[in-house]
Symmetry: C3
Subunit: 353 residues, 3 copies
């Protein structure tokens, strides 16, 4: 990994706007976690919890925030170590420039439009009327359906399926196996068989969205399923038809969002959360892992559990549930004491009020 | 969407067997939801809950059932508005006729059989001995394994995998990324390593089944995994080996059905339900979202929760769980009152019975 | 299935090291389950629970363990019937030898290395620097990214994606639709937007691992996500970045393992389990279906429920939860009895201690 590449700590300090505590001539050739970093690598401390590991690390240098003291060896001090780590990783692992052009094995419809600066990988299929913007990368074996549009600098990885008329904004990243724009799950049942409601809408994915591997986002029955700007979706997530997810939300792996939900801006749905249909989750709502959401959530509301309850309430209930055996014992004990008292006050001895 | 296409309300009334309240010469050019429909579009009221939205809609016409009054503008009255909506959508969005023939870039085994009226998309692979029936559509980049069969008028979308010897009936629809016929998950463990049990059975999907994007249906160890006629399966569902799902069932997204289960006819499994192995779920059973089913279900039984309990019992338990803090307070209060009473009746004062 | 193939019971007894109770000249032509086996088929009894079905079976012969008596017809006795069943299935369903060579429609980078004994299927893509070992099978429409390595005798089924630099050991099996090496889900948030942390690590899959259909295993941020030797992973499982799963573990369908977890050796995660990030699950831990694991597990610990509790404790709590209505009734009754006692001992009548 990035063998042969090396930077002096002086170069890194300049690039990261860091204050260097150590020799600027020292060379490091890679980035590694605290536990495995060697003398020729730089590591990083982005969370105070790992200060112990940092002190024990054999790394040749450390990237750290302003508050941590007692670190061994050279330190690059920055005010925001997490962001500086991103820059550090990009320095050592620059993204490979894709070579523009259409692979000879790709099958591109005559009336599709592919920007000259775009890259279309081996055995990709681009159907009629599709529009591939400038500097877009379409991976090998990817499918872009009729009339789909992919905005500037987006990356559609290998084996993605963008179905007909799906629209991706700029700088969208879609990981392998994701399916965007399959039919929504809508039927009319006569109590016997199920007749399919044609799913004639589409999907709009705005700028800077990232969509994980094997995630599925269904097209709307009518209108659009919408993923707003900056939202990040993990792997194996299901987004139903006519859902709208607001800007800069975080949807963790294996979440399922049922049809017609309105998920706000800056919402966090942790892993394996399920959201029932037609619900509204307010901006900034936070839903803990595996929670089942059956009602609307207010902006900023934090919930946990199935059924979803306020976070602190659910945590308290989890504790009380664990105490159920003790509660039962106490109730039985109270009943015994009651019986004893009643026996000592036989009916009639003291007249009832 | 369907630009340029237009129908007069008179034409629509005839096509939908509707009674028109309004001018038959009025033209509408598309279908849209109540909230977004404009003067040149028709909208629909299929659920009385949305009567308010219907009255506020700017739609140029409304499709509605017999019971709703007070609607503004022209109304197409039908007895079954949901079914009429399907017809309406099909009128405005007729499915594109696939052009029969095999794409030149597809790779079709010499001894595979493809009906002359079938369509095989770009870069699809059809292996030895596969049989593709009349008017079938095999999408781009789809894989049809050796000896697999696809019945008349079925649609196998882009990037589907039908593994060897899988059989699809007529009018089956399989969405992108679905994998039908991968090996079941079966091993013999010696307390140490796991030896694979060969999965030599197959999968049978009967007529009119629909299978969602990235869903996986495993082949049987021996015999067949079976999806009966008319059943609809959503995205990212897991169906284990040797499962049989009865006719006209509904399996919502991210459900997992373990091996050798017998799911009845007309069963509904809501989103993210899990069903343990070797269980029998009776006809018409209904399982609420995220429920974990660990026991057989009687026909028509409705369950909720993990572990699954009768629906109304689980709902009551959810309420009582929420009242646990209050119950603990009441118990503590009772204990205090008991202690006070006991103190006022010192042992010996009144002889024990 | 295996039509025309037949074995005498004598031949089978020799091949399976079984003791034959019956006529060695009897011929069977296939293996079938107890319920469906006919006179010309052999069936098997690998679990005493099915002894009744075995006695009712019409199978022409039975494979069984030493302890079962009263079986009708010829019996092949073996000490370990489950293992013998594997041998029996392999006899009747020998795996088809793949013909070495690269399909003419595959797209293989000039500087990729493909062993002469390897098979590369139709329309597979193998990128620059990839190494395909001896007797490897790469299925149709599979994707092997730049620098990826596939060890001897591994099988990469149709439509798998192995992303750049992923390494598979020997005899690894990857089922259709699996994605190994997509980016981990890591961002730095400024309370507003999310900046992607480059995911520059990789994935190492050791020998004899099996990975299910549409499962996703993310690459590490730095270093490697590791699946150790002999571990079996079912369909639609999510393995986050920097996870390490120990040897011979079993991960059932739809499990989600969050980033940086250490899963021990011989661990069992049943279906739909979720594991929060950065946890350590000790060797031999067993997690029941749908459980949410929020804390480290000791070696051999068995847990159930959300939140995860010791198996027997959770089972007891499930029972007590079901008794909540009865507990509430008893508490209300105790309160009434208390009130009655208090009324009969008006304040002041007996002086407080």
């Amino acid at each position: 990994m990035a063998k042969g590449v090396g930077f002096t700590l002086g170069e890194l300090a300049r690039a990261l706007h860091a204050t260097l505590e150590g020799d600027p001539a020292t060379v490091v050739t890679g980035v590694a976690p605290l536990e495995s970093a060697g003398r020729d690598q730089i590591s990083f401390l982005v969370d105070a919890r790992y200060a112990g590991a940092a002190k024990a690390s054999r790394a040749g240098a450390l990237l750290a925030g302003p508050d941590v003291s007692g670190l061994p060896g050279p330190v690059l001090r920055v005010s925001a170590p997490q962001r500086a780590l991103i820059d550090l990783l990009v320095l050592f692992h620059p993204s490979v420039e894709a070579v523009p052009g259409i692979a000879s094995s790709a099958v591109v419809a005559r009336d599709a439009s592919v920007a000259p600066t775009a890259t279309v990988g081996a055995l990709a299929v681009i159907e009629s009327g599709a529009v591939i913007g400038p500097r877009v990368q379409i991976g090998p074996l990817a499918f872009v359906g009729a009339g789909a549009q992919v905005g500037e600098a987006s990356v559609v990885h290998a084996r993605v399926a963008l179905c007909a008329r799906v629209t991706l904004g700029k700088r969208v990243v879609v990981h392998p196996g994701a399916v965007i724009g399959a039919d929504g799950f809508g039927y009319v049942s006569d109590g016997q068989a199920h007749s399919k409601i044609p799913q004639v809408g589409s999907v709009l994915v705005e700028d800077d969205v990232e969509i994980g591997a094997n995630t599925t986002i269904d097209r709307a029955t009518l209108g659009q399923t919408i993923i707003r700007r900056g939202t990040k979706i993990d792997n194996l997530v299901q987004v139903g038809h006519n859902v709208e997810i607001g800007e800069h939300s975080i949807i963790v792996a294996q979440v399922g969002i049922s049809g017609s939900c309105r998920i706000g801006r800056g919402v966090v749905l942790a892993g394996q959360v399920g959201v029932a249909d037609h619900l509204t989750l307010g901006d900034g709502a936070v839903v803990a892992a595996q929670t089942g959401v059956h009602r609307d959530l207010a902006p900023g509301e934090k919930v946990l559990g199935t059924p979803a309850r306020p976070l602190m309430e659910s945590k308290r209930l989890f504790v009380l549930e664990g105490e159920l055996p003790e509660l039962v014992r106490r109730l039985r004990d109270a009943e015994r004491r009651l019986a004893r008292l009643e026996a000592r006050l036989p009916a009639g001895e003291v007249p009832d009020a």
